[in-house]
């Protein structure tokens, strides 16, 4: 019963979204632009197609030995005067964060989908802190009180007119629907926040086990401020982001950039320890110009369990390049409404195993046409259709099947056809 109620609520949302002309326009623009950029990036660096196979092998090695690589990375970081933690789930991570950050603090935040697992903004605000999203898309989404609808472009669903409206409210003056002017407003508004903030919060795209170096890939330049200006830098990193060595992470970086549709991104930050200087008589002083403290929290939250499963484990290869979403026949019609914290086809598995649970994943599991094109373009070779087919089996076992599926299945078993027979 519960499963059907959830499904019907989801169906109402999806059907409402299908009628949204603004969303349609925004998504059509985004899909066209992304595919063009991605094709250009792959054409300019054709060897990346071969590199992705090597990346898959590296990723698999890490997935098979998560504990080992977490241990190695922590060791490297601690040796470099960083503090490290292991959080088995989101609640534990939030407890650790509360202890580090405290209350009454100002936090500037880089875009991090991992932080969505923790509901970071909600939890930290409730604990008496102020959080500023600094990625332009996230900033828009935060002002709108909305949720991110794409992992790379969180405000993919918001047309410029709506951005102008919300920025006008914040600015207290009329803002034109001009992307350039709107971006400049965000720049001015956030500029002093970086230096006033007590804490900079980020995720990471990769973190190496041999040196404890996190890689943060961006275009806007906000991550450089977030991870550099405040005295304390806190990072929450999913354990699947581990790479054995620096050169493995470089390979990953290249693949990630190309499949995200970039010849190169504006910036890649590599951070291994707090800022330090030894310029006065070789005495090491921490916090030279950058943060005095670096805290790295490794988050499990279901990943180890997923890694132990022969089918679900593949989801941990995901680089979050977003390529699959733009290849999907469904996602561009509904954006992140098909999802919870994680979205699209791959997001269904992440919802079930990591962020949300089976009950939250249940309504989402029947929106995939199982066409398999995402696998063809995925740099990590993830077959989301296969993950979803497996999940549907588990949902059946858990009694979370929506009623229309149940009725159809029962009709097949009883009548030998899924279509109800007509009388006579």
């Amino acid at each position: 019963m519960e499963a059907s109620k959830e499904f019907n609520a989801y169906k109402r949302t999806i059907y409402k979204v299908l009628k949204d002309k603004f969303l349609k326009t925004a998504l059509e623009r985004a899909v066209t632009a992304f595919r063009k950029n991605r094709d250009a990036a792959l054409a300019a660096f054709p060897e990346v197609v071969e590199k992705r196979e090597r990346l898959q092998e590296i990723k698999d090695k890490v997935i098979d030995n998560l504990d080992y690589y977490v241990g190695k990375a922590r060791e490297a970081l601690e040796k470099n005067h960083a503090h490290t933690y292991f959080a088995s789930d989101a609640d534990k991570a939030n407890e650790i964060l509360k202890n580090i950050i405290g209350t009454g603090k100002m936090i500037v935040k880089a875009k991090s989908i991992t932080s969505e697992e923790l509901e970071f903004n909600k939890v930290m605000t409730a604990y008496g802190n102020t959080v500023y999203e600094t990625d332009l898309g996230e900033f828009i989404v935060q002002l709108l009180g909305d949720k991110p609808m794409h992992i790379l472009a969180p405000a993919v669903h918001v047309p410029r007119e709506r951005v102008a409206k919300i920025f006008s409210e914040v600015a207290g003056r009329e803002m034109p629907a001009d992307p350039k002017k709107l971006a400049m407003f965000a720049r001015e508004f956030l500029r002093d926040k970086y230096f006033k903030a007590d804490v900079g919060f980020s995720g990471a795209n990769f973190i190496t086990a041999d040196t404890g170096t996190m890689f943060l890939v961006e275009n806007e330049g906000n991550i450089r401020f977030v991870t550099n200006a405040p005295e304390i830098h806190v990072a929450v990193i999913g354990v699947e982001k581990l790479m054995p060595t620096l050169s493995d992470a470089m390979l990953g970086l290249e693949v990630l950039m190309r499949y995200s549709g970039y010849l190169t991104t504006s910036y890649v930050s590599m951070i291994s320890c707090p800022a330090k200087t030894g310029d006065i008589e070789k005495v090491t002083v921490y916090g030279a110009h950058g943060p005095k403290e670096l805290h790295v929290i490794f988050l499990d939250n279901g990943r180890t369990k997923a890694a132990a499963d022969p089918v679900y484990r593949d989801m941990l290869r995901c680089l979050r390049c977003g390529a699959c979403m733009y290849e999907c026949p469904i996602y561009p019609l509904v954006s992140g409404n098909w999802g919870y914290h994680y979205m699209g086809g791959i997001g269904v598995a992440w919802t079930a195993l990591v962020s949300g649970g089976f009950a939250k994943a249940a309504p989402l599991a029947y929106s995939c046409a199982l066409c398999g094109r995402c696998k063809e373009i995925c740099p990590a070779g993830i077959d989301s259709s296969k993950l979803i087919e497996r999940l549907r089996k588990d949902l059946k076992k858990e009694g979370l099947v929506p009623s229309f599926i149940k009725e159809m299945a029962e009709t097949v078993i009883k009548e030998g056809t899924p279509y109800k027979k007509k009388e006579g």
């Binding site: 046409a369 696998k375 299945a409």
Partner: protein, 244 residues
Amino acid sequence: MEIEEKLGVFFGCTTAGAPHLLKGLEDFLSKAKIDYVPMGKDLCCGVPLTLAGYHDEAAEYVKKVADKLISTKITKMVTSCPHCYMMFKREYPEEFGIELPFKVLHFVEFADELLKEGKIKLRNRKDVRVLYHDPCGIGRRGPGLYEEPRRVLESCVQVVEADRNRVLGTCCGGGGLLRASLPKLAVAAAKRKIQDDVLPKGVDTIVTSCPFCTLNLADGAAEIADKEIKVFDLPQFLAEQMED
């Protein structure tokens, strides 16, 4: 001694349930003078169960289907439904351990064979342009039957390709139970596909090889007000190109 071939045609519940698709396949078979045992008009292959995650129930169900099929003593089976095809060809043996004692062909393979052997005659209508839509089921999610349908179509009409085709072809949205779970979303995907792939090519006819794609694309086409797009399943389209 050669065993005499006995051909079964498995219509599948979706084709059997759509009168125009059923007639298309029957017309093709009769015009091609094919001797066959009709099956699967009233018998589902079990794919809705596997797609719904009903694995244990499916295991039990497909055993019964397999028994019925085997009892007909056919040596070869043709189906025009990619779902049925992949069930018999891959899921029955690999997922449920049932080896069917006959060869399973999809209609595109069958038509391609008939054409090669000169057993069907198609009207030459090279002025007609059709866009071929690759169903996922026999394409990237199956054995990649991309060239067979194109060879057959090219023998009678002009085939126009979508910019993204074959292994990168855009799904119509009709699979994976989506037409059952969120029909409006499935149809919206079909409409988008037609707008992106078909309209820019100036083509008004789509041919595909799957009853789900045919029905879903037709529903999507119906939502495009300013242009009439016709959608055919391959057997149905070929039947129209054959002499009576």
